[in-house]
Structure formats: structure tokens, C-alpha cells
């Protein structure tokens, strides 16, 4: 069963830098579906629009970001809701109870001048205004125990926690109200491998406990190989290939995905890896047709002229590439 559906989403940053108008097409016609009890990975390089896509799924659209088209549907308790036709108050109510967010690991996601329990209390209070302070605190404590975190973290200030612990506290905060969808944007990027593994472990555990949808956005294919069920590869604001983790790693079809997978170093194999030539395009001036064609060795005329459609090519496997379609 699906819980979030995005249909042909388009969004752009419209900047007015002292009179010069600049439009950055960060997300172009992205369609995807998040299902109950799965980990969906979104992979892409920096500046490919993955963070913007997450903001769209979440309904966090503020200037200069603008929604240019498409819909986001939520399935909440069997009802279908169109995110962008909801009133702001309704949208707010869905936050944390239906969909929540784990931001990039950094020092600064928790208010530095209040204790961790204060932040937990504020989030709970906003969604359960009639509950008493003690009750709320008890609820927060129980939640931490369930996740295997020491409840004493509630009594300290954020700067007293290590980076890994802080990120785990944020995960606990995001899952406080048992949301059906959790979106994690680069949740382990700044962390060391050992801590990274611990944090991913926690994310996965919570997902298994809640049987909900977890979205992990990252540039690190290694992370996705380990935790994702399905993966969408983003390039220049589009998802260009989507398949199960096995298919992506074993039979990638899009030339970009192939470069990406084949250039990954692996232990026990010192064979030469080749990178894709050139470098990723700027979202301000996208190439015509398929955005990857200037770097693609197999590009044909059609690739330069028409944007390939994102089509199903196999079991749960979608690709946007003329070469695949035309054989």
C-alpha cells in the first residue's frame, strides 16, 4: 500500500539578485511512490535537486522555492489528501503525526540553550496541547527507551552530546509520534563510519518497528546498498532510474547509473574504475534533451533533442533513456 505519491512534480528557485532574475529548475517532472514498510533511497550528487525534492514531498515550500506543477498525494488512514490543496493548518497537523523529517546531521538542529527534554516537550505539546508536562516527559522517556537510547539524554544540553548521539536524538524526536513516513536527508553525511553505522542501524530499526516508509537521501551508494529496498537515481533534477536495490547494483540500465555503480571502489578488487567524463550540469542551464547526453558516450541525435520518458522496463524498474527504449 502506498503512503505518498508524487505526480510530475516540478519546482524551481526563482531568485531576484538585485534585478537579475535567475531561475534554477531544481526538480523536473518527478513521479514516485513511497510505500508502507519500505526504505526508499534517493541517490544523487550535490546539486541534483534531491533536497528540493524532499522539501516538496514534505510541503515545505517557501520563497524563493516555488512549486511549478504536479501533485503530492498522502494516504492518511485510508483517505487520499492532496498536500498542496490542504489548508496550512491541516498541513501542519500532518507534520510529525503522518510525515516527519530527519535533517542532515549537524551541530545545530537542536536549540542550544534548552535541554533536550525541552525540545521534545515543545514538539509533543504542539500536537497534544492538553496533556500535562509530566505526562509529556514520560512519553518522551518511554520513546527513548523503546529506541534503546539512554533517557538521561533528556536532561542535558545538545552541546554535551557527541555527534552520533545528537543525530540519534534527532531521529527519536522525528519518530516521537509514530509517523507513517520518515524522510531523512543525508542523515549520516558528516559522521565517522562507526557512528554512521550506528545511526543507520537505528533508522532501520525504527522503520522496522513502525512498518512505515523511510526515505533516505544520500550521495553515498554504500549507505543505500546497506539499508535501501528501492532506489531512485537523480540527475539534474530528474529521477532517471528507479529499481530495487538489487537491480540497481546488478543490472543498471541508464548510462549514468552504470558509471556511478561501476566507478565504486570495492574491497578485494583493484581493477581500474572509470568515471563519467565531464562534470554534472548546472541547474540554471540544463542541456537540451537528455541532461546526461553531453557526458554520454553512446548519445544519439534523439538524446540531444528530446527528453526521454521515464518508462517501466521491467519488474518495478523504470528508466529514462532513449538507448534503453530503442534498444
Amino acid at each position: 500500500m502506498w503512503s505518498v505519491r508524487a505526480n510530475k512534480l516540478c519546482a524551481a528557485y526563482v531568485l531576484d539578485i538585485f534585478g537579475t532574475k535567475k531561475v534554477i529548475h531544481a526538480v523536473n517532472e518527478v513521479s514516485l511512490e513511497l510505500r508502507e514498510n519500505e526504505v526508499y533511497g534517493i541517490a544523487g550528487e550535490s546539486g541534483c535537486g534531491k533536497t528540493t525534492l524532499v522539501r516538496l514531498l514534505f510541503g515545505d515550500v517557501q520563497p524563493p522555492l516555488r512549486l511549478m506543477g504536479g501533485r503530492v498525494l498522502y494516504q492518511v488512514d485510508g483517505r487520499e489528501l492532496d498536500l498542496y490543496s490542504l489548508a496550512p493548518a491541516e498541513r501542519r497537523d500532518l507534520r510529525w503525526s503522518f510525515i516527519s523529517y530527519v535533517p542532515q546531521s549537524s551541530m545545530s538542529n537542536l536549540n542550544p540553550v534548552i535541554k533536550v527534554k525541552g525540545t521534545f516537550g515543545d514538539v509533543l505539546k504542539s500536537h497534544a496541547p492538553h496533556q500535562g508536562k509530566r505526562e509529556l516527559l514520560e512519553r518522551a522517556r518511554q520513546h527513548l527507551v523503546e529506541l534503546g537510547l539512554p533517557p538521561k539524554v533528556l536532561e542535558v544540553y545538545p552541546h554535551q552530546l557527541s555527534g552520533g548521539m545528537r543525530q540519534r536524538v534527532v531521529i527519536a524526536l522525528a519518530t516521537l509520534l509514530s509517523p507513517r513516513v520518515v524522510i531523512a536527508d543525508e542523515p549520516v553525511t558528516a559522521l565517522d563510519v562507526v557512528v554512521q553505522r550506528g545511526v543507520l542501524q537505528l533508522l532501520k530499526e525504527v522503520q522496522e518497528r513502525l512498518q512505515n516508509a523511510l526515505v533516505i537521501v544520500t550521495h553515498d551508494m554504500g549507505v543505500l546498498a546497506n539499508v535501501a529496498d528501492r532506489i531512485g537515481i537523480m540527475y539534474a533534477g530528474r529521477i532517471i532510474e528507479e529499481a530495487s536495490v538489487w537491480t540497481i547494483f546488478e543490472q543498471p540500465l541508464h548510462p549514468y547509473t552504470r558509471y556511478l555503480i561501476n566507478s565504486l571502489p570495492a574491497f578485494g578488487d583493484k581493477g581500474t574504475r572509470e568515471s563519467a567524463p565531464g562534470s554534472p550540469p548546472s541547474l540554471v542551464e540544463l542541456p537540451s534533451g537528455c541532461a546526461f547526453h553531453p557526458r554520454c558516450r553512446l548519445a544519439r541525435d534523439r538524446c540531444r533533442e528530446e527528453v526521454p520518458e521515464f518508462e517501466m522496463v521491467g519488474d518495478e524498474h523504470r528508466v529514462a533513456c532513449w538507448l534503453v527504449k530503442e534498444g
Binding site: 552520533g164 548521539m165 562507526v194 553505522r197 553515498d220 558509471y259 565504486l264 574491497f267 565531464g278 562534470s279
Partner: protein, 318 residues
Amino acid sequence: MRDVSKIFHMGSMLSRIRITAVEHVSFRVGPGEIFGLAGESGCGKTTLARMILGFEEPTSGTIALRGRDGQPIVGRRAWRRAGVQAVFQNPFETFNPLRQVERYFFETVQNYGLAGNRAEALERIERALQMVGLSYEAIAGRYPAEFSGGQLQRASIARALLSEPSLLIADEPVSMVDASIRMSIMNLFRDLVDRLGVSVVYITHDLATAYYVCDRIAIMFRGNIVAMGNVDKVLMEPKHPYVRLLMECVPQTDPKKRWRAKVQLSASETEEYLRAGCKFAGRCPHAMDICKQEVPEEIYFEGQMAKCHLLRVSQGVQ
């Protein structure tokens, strides 16, 4: 024959907050070798790099350097001209955003007296840029913001090569570079080592790329080198428990090799720095009493070195 070798012997390097950043670290890098220096953030690898580059003085111990001609290098200027140059992590920060990239090339040539006139200088710059797949024409008159990250990183390498140093320090040179072109930079290092005989110290937290490119590797933990040796040996047959933990935690890019067991996380970082004995004892699944009291000694066997009491017991080696 060119013979580049460096012998490090340095004692406790005290930083301002009196935490030993680098402790009794010794290693040598041979000519034409890529030497990996890997570890988590705060393990002292960057401090070590800064000491080799001469940005910081070791509290004790010495660092020696030989040029490509085999002669020992003495003196600050020579140290950087014929000795050691660096490639940094963020290519967009490597060059001043307000200045043209080419100016660094001319300054390097001029300051080290590498050319007599402008034509010679240009020729030299062109040669260095050709080696990394660029040309003078491609960089002339342009500011850093006009390049892509990959191009800038190549330019940065070319600048470092201008003075024909015997050693290149590459501090996380690809972590800020787009994933799809990362390997081309790694391949470039390999290529340069093979062609020029320059040595490279590759500093990274990423064991996978280290495995890909390095000949030998040292794993650092809290200011100590805990394991060192041939990269295949150290990483594929890890002896030290910390290296084993690291290897288990590196996300393998293959869904067939997913993680299974759980890991234990460290309490506080400062605590580990101040710990007497083996710094890893607090998290080590095999910790013994002696580990908490005595600093383990270096144990050599099967072409690798490891600092661990456990190994002495199990292997019975000196």
C-alpha cells in the same frame, strides 16, 4: 636512482587544550609510493599532515625528507620547493575566489625561481597542466567560480607539481568532488606516481578509495598508528580489533554484503584521548587488563604492523 624516503619520529604533540593529537608516530614513505593515512575525524591525521608540510612544529621527534635526486632536503624554502606540496579537500577553497587561478601558478614559479623568463614559466606551467589533463588556455584569466570542482582539483594538483616536489600530501582530495568524477582524480594520482615517481600521502576517512589507490596504509586511532602495512594485508586481513571494526562498518557497495551484527559506540572522544594504555580498550570486545594500563608496542608480522596486546598473546610474536 631517485630515492625518496622520509622517516618520522615524533613524540607527543601537545595542542592548546593539552590533548595529545599525535603520539609517537613513526613511518616512512618510499619513493613512488602512495601511502594511505586513514582514520576517523579527530584521529590526528590532519595534524600529522600539517606537521609534514611545516605548518606546525612537532613537539618532539623529527621529520626528514629527501628530494627526487635522493639528497636530503634542509631549509624551509627547499622543503616546500623540492620537498613537499599539498592538495586540499575543497577545490573551491584552494584558490582565493577573488583571484585568477593562473596567478598561483605564476607565483609558484616566480617565488621558487623555477624559470628565467615568462616564456619559460609558461612552458613549465603548460607542462604541469598537461600532466593533469588541462592546458594553460583552459585556465587563463579565469576565476575559481568559473570552473567545475573536478577541474579545479586538477588545477590544484598541477600547481602542486610545478616545483617538482618529491612528496604530495593529498588531504581528502576527492571528498568534495562529485561522485561521478571522483575516480578520475584517484586514477590521476596513480598515473602521476607511475609517471613522475612522486610519492603521495593520501589522507582520508574513506577506506574504499584508500584500498583502491594506496600501496601501503596506516590506520590511525586517537593520535596513534594502530596498524600499518601493505594495503591488502591491513584491510583485507585486519589484525587489530579497531581495524576490524572499521572494516565491518564501512558500507560496502554491494547489497549482498549487508551489515548484520550491531555495533557499539564510543562514549566520549576526549575520554579516549586521555586514556592510559590502549586508547581502544574502552570499546574493544577483547580488552584485557593490560590493555587499560600499558600502551601496546608495535608488533610486526606477515608484512604488517599492529599495536595490540591481544596479538602478542595470540601470536606469540615480539
